[in-house]
């Protein structure tokens, strides 16, 4: 097998991506799929805002509004934000720790295809009667009553499949980070983004199983005659709420911790200074993850858990503000006295601080259980979570896109267009969501498809809709930027920004298949920066140049996930049609059969020989 790059046809490229187990290509897949779902979720958001732009509007009425709203939330969280974060983790983590690959390349590919087919299945609901319509939280008391179509079944089975993919991805990163760090890279020398990924993966490992259990119960209740959530038959609908939020609250940290990691990298790079308080950053990240497990019931203050439970969960929630505050101050002190370069990623990073803090402040307001009786289910909550999710996570995703695009694709995104995108998005974001605080405080309920005139909500809603269009335009400009860059962007060297601190900037952009020709020796935090300060251009190698072992591509991950996709259709319809059960079993057989093949086929991978490595390195250096 030759690894020398040559011009390939479309079919060959497609096949390459369908069978790849290379973390860098899997990163591309996550970026593309997550990006498409992000556009879809954004379109749904626009539809919501158009409907709410004026009172008594009839653009999206009743059930259809519920479907669009549910799919907006579900898509953005599960199919856009998380996969896009996974894209950056895949692209960057092995490079940051000086590894040639991830620990389980096959599993990594399988994780992607599971997510992809789960998301595809969920969105098939649009064409098959109707999408899920019980909110992204899908409370059992609503979802068990949604009997007009199979929407909720698409939700349960789709999320189940993509959730398996997420757990696999997390396990892969945990093992990769524990076992595959380059010599000298101790835990306390890991870059902040690597730390964030590590902690996030642990959160996923512990937080997704409750969701899995909840979804299995829900599937049983809806498709197989179960009664877990049916009070009339001795079940309990509150159990779903607990299971969902035991997952759901850690989930928001699963989104925000990697975002914090991205910003930590950006602050240090463009302040051209070591991250302030590195060890307190690590400690704060771990503490947030730990506390994140004990606060889920703050979503259920009004359910009637009683004053003691409410008080405990309120206090637990408030404590999370402390480690978060530590991080905020560390970022500020990183910038303090630094020689700051205002690149596009740095714009997002600087804007993130006040935006995210506003979301944090409303969060502390909401955590006061007594006050929450007033805020709950109003637009105040909507404003809160968009301030943290958009002002935190989406800003981080956009920043990360600009920051690592040159590393992933070898070309720099246009900075001028990038800054235009930033300003439009930033202004649009605050226009859309700031005013929603006041809509909420004056009583506008969330998740209701319209409102009457003369309640003082017209202006606020109109402003909010205008803001949404600003964000839409910003996104379109980003897309144009991507197209222009791909066609004729300037090629960049390995250290694309000139200020790279971590290992990924020490190798060519895009990196060769094997990442590092020689495993580097790490001599401290910000390993590449240290070498540069000593006047060197390259890393100190930890081993002589030799043959490099690589895993073979495989089509099986795709087939395994596809089998579950087929099975999900079968079981969704098994109560209505005779073909349901056989199709379901057929799908499971496809999955189990290809898993069997995976177990029996011996696959030892292949070697890239030393001479080939040398040749590739020479080409990389000239490019």
């Amino acid at each position: 097998m030759s690894t020398i790059a040559r011009k390939k046809g479309v079919g060959a490229v497609l096949w390459d991506y369908l069978t790849t187990v290379d973390h860098k290509k899997i990163a591309h897949l996550y970026l593309i799929a997550g990006g498409i779902f992000f556009l879809l979720g954004g379109l749904e958001a626009l539809f919501i805002r158009i409907q709410l732009a004026k009172p008594n509007n009839d653009f999206l009425v009743g059930g259809l509004y519920n479907e669009v709203l549910t799919m907006h939330g579900t898509t953005m969280i599960f199919l856009a934000a998380m996969p896009l974060l996974f894209a950056f983790m895949n692209a960057v983590i092995p490079l940051q720790i000086g590894a040639r690959d991830v620990a389980f390349p096959f599993l990594n590919a399988l994780g992607f295809w599971m997510f992809f087919f789960g998301g595809l299945f969920l969105n098939c609901s649009w064409f098959l009667g109707g999408a899920p319509d019980a909110g992204w939280t899908s409370y059992a008391s609503l979802s068990l009553e949604s009997k007009a179509h199979h929407g909720i079944d698409f939700y349960t089975l789709g999320l189940q499949i993509s959730g398996f993919g997420t757990i696999m991805g997390a396990i892969n990163f945990l093992v990769t980070i524990i076992n595959m760090r380059a010599p000298g890279m101790t835990f306390m020398r890991m870059p902040m983004f690597t730390w964030a990924t590590f902690v996030t993966s642990a959160l996923i490992l512990f937080a997704f199983p409750p969701l899995t259990v909840g979804l299995i119960f829900m599937m049983m209740d809806r498709l197989f005659g179960g009664n877990f959530f049916n009070p009339a038959a001795g079940g309990n609908t509150i159990i779903w709420e607990h299971l969902f939020w035991v997952f759901g609250h850690p989930e928001v940290y699963i989104l925000i911790l990697p975002s914090f990691g991205i910003f930590s990298e950006i602050f240090a790079t463009f302040s051209r200074k070591r991250l302030f308080g590195y060890s307190s950053m690590v400690f704060a990240t771990v503490l947030i993850a730990f506390l994140g497990f004990m606060v889920w019931a703050h979503h259920m203050f009004t359910v009637g858990m009683g004053p003691i439970a409410n008080a405990i969960f309120a206090v637990a929630t408030m404590t999370i503000a402390v480690p978060t505050g530590v991080k905020i101050f560390n970022w500020l002190f990183t910038m303090w006295g630094g020689s700051i370069k205002f690149t596009t990623p740095m714009h997002y990073a600087v804007a993130f601080i006040p935006s995210f803090v506003m979301g944090g402040v409303t969060g502390v307001m909401l955590s006061a259980a007594a006050a929450d009786y007033q805020y709950h289910d109003s637009y105040f909550v909507v404003a809160h979570f968009h301030y943290v999710i958009v002002g935190g996570v989406v800003f981080a995703l956009l920043a990360g896109t600009h920051y690592w695009w040159p590393k992933m694709f070898g070309r720099m995104l246009n900075e001028t267009l990038g800054k235009i995108t930033f300003w439009l998005f930033f202004i649009g974001f605050h226009l859309t969501f700031f005013i929603q605080h006041f809509l909420g405080l004056t009583g506008m309920p969330r998740r209701v498809f319209t409102y009457l005139p003369n309640q003082g909500w017209e202006t606020g809603n109109f402003v909010s809709t205008v803001g949404a269009f600003f964000m839409a335009i910003a996104t379109v400009i980003l897309l144009i930027n991507i197209v222009i860059t791909t066609v004729k962007g300037e090629k960049v060297p390995g250290d694309a920004w000139g200020d790279g601190r971590t290992l990924e900037w020490a190798i060519a952009s895009p990196p060769p298949v094997y990442n590092f020709a020689q495993t580097p020796l790490v001599r401290g935090l910000d390993a590449f920066w240290l070498e540069k300060m000593e006047g060197k251009k390259e890393l100190t190698p930890a081993e002589p140049l030799g043959d490099i072992h690589m895993p073979n591509s495989s089509f099986l991950p795709f087939v395994i996930a596809f089998g579950l996709f087929v099975a999900a259709f079968g079981f969704t319809y098994h109560n209505d049609a005779g073909w349901g059960l056989p199709v379901g079993i057929l799908g499971l057989l496809i999955t189990l059969g290809s898993m069997f093949l995976r177990s029996v086929i011996d696959d030892h991978g292949f070697h890239i020989h030393k001479e080939e490595v040398l040749e590739l390195e020479k080409k990389g250096a000239n490019a």
């Binding site: 509150i238 159990i239 607990h242 035991v246 497990f293």
Partner: protein, 110 residues
């Protein structure tokens, strides 16, 4: 990769490793006998009519926990060096589960 295994030079260590293996074997056999004994006690406890359920159920759960520990530490080598991470994640998972059960029993089904 040779420099990633921690066994060092095999021939030099042979005597040491012999002794180590023998010791290991003895532990495994002792653990195995104990586990069979615990299983027999559990059966006896359930079979013996005089014991009330309030005693038997917690008692055999306790025995089960001991069995799990034996399994992990002796048969799956968690007592050896280099298992800190598996241990950490197992205990982490157990802690999350206990928290859940505790919360469910107090908040939902008090």
């Amino acid at each position: 990769m040779a420099n990633q295994t921690n066994s060092g030079n095999e021939r030099v260590d042979l005597a040491y490793r012999r002794r180590k293996n023998a010791e290991e074997m003895r532990h495994q056999v002792i653990a195995f006998v104990l586990m069979i004994l615990l299983t027999l006690i559990a059966f006896a406890a359930v079979g013996y009519e005089e014991f009330s359920h309030w005693f038997v159920v917690p008692f055999i759960l306790l025995l089960a926990a001991v069995q799990v520990a034996f399994q992990l530490y002796y048969f799956m080598h968690m007592s050896h060096k280099g298992h800190e991470f598996p241990a950490m994640f197992i205990y982490g998972g157990v802690a999350v589960m206990l928290l859940l059960v505790w919360a469910f029993t107090t908040v939902i089904w008090w």
